[in-house]
Symmetry: C3
Subunit: 103 residues, 3 copies
């Protein structure tokens, strides 16, 4: 099975940031990332220490959002330089992974 090295990225936001739409558009239209998935967490907290969590009453107020994507390491490095200007420092994590390309 052929594999290539990729860099996986998690970008941490909250719904209250209202950044998701513009970041996804940027990754899609400008950076041409091959694949992106966004998850909504059910609870979490960041450096503010403020806990964000979902109950039946406030399900969509300010929950954590995570954008996950991967691409070739050099391309991701360029993307992260751009994202870094749009996302708070300390909210982007990356690691090396293998993409499986089929036989």
């Amino acid at each position: 099975m052929r594999t290539i090295e990729v860099t996986m990225v998690h970008v941490y936001l909250t719904e209250g940031d209202h950044h998701l739409k513009s970041l996804l558009a940027c990754l899609h239209d400008e950076e041409k990332v091959s694949g992106v998935t966004t998850y909504r967490g059910i609870s979490g907290f960041g450096k503010s220490g403020k806990i964000h969590s979902s109950t039946l009453l406030d399900m969509s107020l300010d929950l954590p959002l995570v954008i996950e994507f991967f691409d070739e390491p050099a391309k991701v490095e360029t993307i992260l330089e751009h994202l870094n200007k749009k996302v708070e420092p300390g909210h982007i994590v990356s690691w090396s992974a293998k993409l499986h390309l089929g036989e």
Copy 2:
């Protein structure tokens, strides 16, 4: 604390693929993976460039799905050879991790 090396895997699907049930059954019944979690994303896009996203109106139409599992590296390698025939090329990512086994 004892740890063993494992391989973590993300398999990317969308709900429209209608593959989730058969892949989970395969991982459970045939491959005997020790643990699997499936996430539904709230938005995303793949190589088609088509954006999949959830609104109140079409919450369950064609959202991204991610199957996450881990197991011993050699076992995962065998599993990925099997999965590779059932999943589109370029939709499986893996990386090395440590499983913490307790004291």
Copy 3:
């Protein structure tokens, strides 16, 4: 772009464990982890082999939960020693990653 090495962690629970609240409080109040996100899976299974899945009828019964957090490697090691007493063995996975700190 400045980066520092961190350890990423996934802790696997199910809603039926009723551990989430106390684990989050521990990570927040005692361990002072800089950021935590909890995800609810839509299906999954663990060592018991019992499949947990969501349908419209039992959406919130016993779904998989994953706590994701990262911090400096030495701090995470200490945290995992504490968590290990509160979580079933074999339910914690960790890997090395880079945190991007801005320019």
